[in-house]
């Protein structure tokens, strides 16, 4: 059985897996970027004590492998609190949590290390606080963090395959089940690799291009 035949025969299953993977990834991206950005800003702007608490949580989360966290939230945590959640919810919660703190760790240093002289120059040129924020700080910080954020989101997309281990029917689990039936690992996992290549390669390329472009244009000295 070739790649085309597998695609034809298992189209419905594969499309379902793709849909679940994309739904999960998009949810993790949105939650991570929105809440993580807000957390990063809070860490940079709020009193040091609050920043340290959230950084300590980030330190713990980044020290535990994502797959261990996923299992922990799926089995022991749910047993402890006496609930049984859909694996999709557990996966979205766990990966979203990891993404939130990872995004915050990109945003916070970008804000903290922002050159104060650029803001001071805005002040003596008569810019209002709002103008300084939207014309100077925001565009520069966005340019600074976008490449790293894109790279992180690619990692989070790839991390969605861990959800297969808690029985979520995302693309990797579907591929495993198809392979169990047809036993064509080269064809099946090649299709899977092409799927991730098609999604991740453009994102990685955009991140690399932006990084190069911004570094050249924004660098002084």
């Amino acid at each position: 059985m070739g790649v085309v035949q597998i695609l034809e025969q298992y189209a419905a299953g594969l499309l379902h897996g793709v849909a679940v993977t994309l739904e999960l990834a998009i949810l993790v991206w949105i939650v991570g970027i929105v809440i993580g950005s807000a957390l990063g800003v809070a860490q940079a702007r709020l009193p040091v004590g609050i920043g340290w608490i959230t950084r300590a949580v980030a330190f713990v989360l980044t020290s535990v492998p994502t797959i261990v966290l996923l299992f922990w939230f799926h089995y022991p945590a749910q047993t402890l609190i006496g609930v049984q959640l859909n694996p999709f919810i557990t996966s979205a919660f766990t990966l979203g949590l990891v993404n939130i703190f990872a995004v915050a760790e990109i945003i916070r240093p970008a804000l903290v290390s922002f050159p104060s002289g650029l803001i001071a120059t805005g002040k003596v040129a008569g810019l209002s606080r709002r103008q300084i924020l939207w014309k100077i700080e925001f565009p520069l910080i966005v340019r600074n963090v976008i490449p790293a954020l894109l790279t992180l989101q690619v990692v989070m997309l790839q991390a969605t395959i861990f959800a297969s281990l808690i029985s979520l029917d995302e693309i990797f689990r579907i591929a495993q089940r198809i392979n169990a039936q047809v036993y064509r690992p080269v064809q099946v996992y090649s299709v899977l690799a092409i799927f991730f290549l098609a999604l991740c390669l453009p994102l990685n390329a955009v991140a690399a291009i932006l990084q190069r472009r911004f570094r050249q244009k924004l660098a002084i000295d």
């Binding site: 050159p115 002289g117 650029l118 001071a120 120059t121 805005g122 002040k123 003596v124 040129a125 008569g126 810019l127 209002s128 103008q131 014309k135 100077i136 565009p139 520069l140 340019r143 050249q216 244009k217 924004l218 660098a219 002084i220």
Partner: protein, 236 residues
């Protein structure tokens, strides 16, 4: 008049300024001299209200700001504008936007003939559409100086405006500083170039160790009273 009264400033328990008094008069050019670490740039930043002193007063034409009371919302411009040592051109904007952006965003009027003449003399016309990173160090400095000179103000504070300038451009800058002074602008220039200070300044102020050691007219540089200034003058 822009006045610093008993200004004190420390950073991490290290005294930077110790009770400094300085007046910047309208229509006069004051050159602030001193060795590295004397406190000149900190004093300039305090006078421009982007850095707040620990104690003392800053008085701008009768409006007094008493420190350490916070004045986070104080906007120095249109009364005071400044060029800081790091130049701080906004790297994501072209030179044109760096110079004229602040005026356009606020729909402020400025002397267009003066600006055109200054850009010609500073040889900036061919770099107006470049980003700062695409310009030489001298061009970046002239662009930053042009931004400060074109912004209409009553007091202009310039921190080492000739640091990357060649002799010709330093001379041209000196003529513009004198022209602005004749229009009534009070100007403070921090510089290490004694010849430049002598040629533009009505008053010379010498700082050391966070304090003003001596001040006077240009003859101060030919007959300094303090040993430290005498030693520096002998090296020029």
């Amino acid at each position: 008049m822009l006045r610093a009264i008993h200004i004190r400033k420390s950073i991490s328990d290290r005294k930077i300024l110790g009770s400094v008094d300085l007046d910047i008069s309208n229509g006069k050019v004051t050159a602030l001299l001193g060795r590295n670490g004397a406190g000149k740039s900190t004093l300039l930043r305090c006078l421009s209200l982007v850095e707040f002193p620990d104690a003392g007063h800053i008085d701008i034409d009768g409006d007094t700001y008493v420190f350490p009371t916070p004045h986070a919302t104080v906007s120095p411009w249109p009364r005071v504008t400044a060029l800081f040592q790091g130049l701080h051109l906004w790297p994501h904007m072209r030179i044109r936007e760096n110079i004229f952006g602040p005026l356009q965003w606020q729909a402020r009027e400025y002397d267009r003939a003066f600006a055109k003449r200054l850009l010609d003399d500073f040889e900036l016309n061919n770099v107006m559409d470049r980003y700062p990173a695409e310009c030489s160090g001298g061009q970046r400095q002239r662009a930053a100086v042009a931004r400060a000179l074109i912004l209409p103000c009553q007091y202009l504070l310039l921190d080492e405006p000739t640091a990357s300038a060649d002799v010709e451009h330093a001379h041209i800058l000196g003529t513009y500083i004198r022209e602005l002074a004749t229009r009534g602008v009070g100007i403070l220039v921090v510089t290490h170039m004694f010849g430049f200070a002598r040629s533009i300044a009505d008053r010379i102020v010498f700082m050391e160790g966070g304090a003003i050691v001596e001040e006077g007219d240009a003859t101060l540089l030919t007959a300094p009273r303090s040993e430290s200034l005498r030693r520096l003058v002998s090296l020029h």
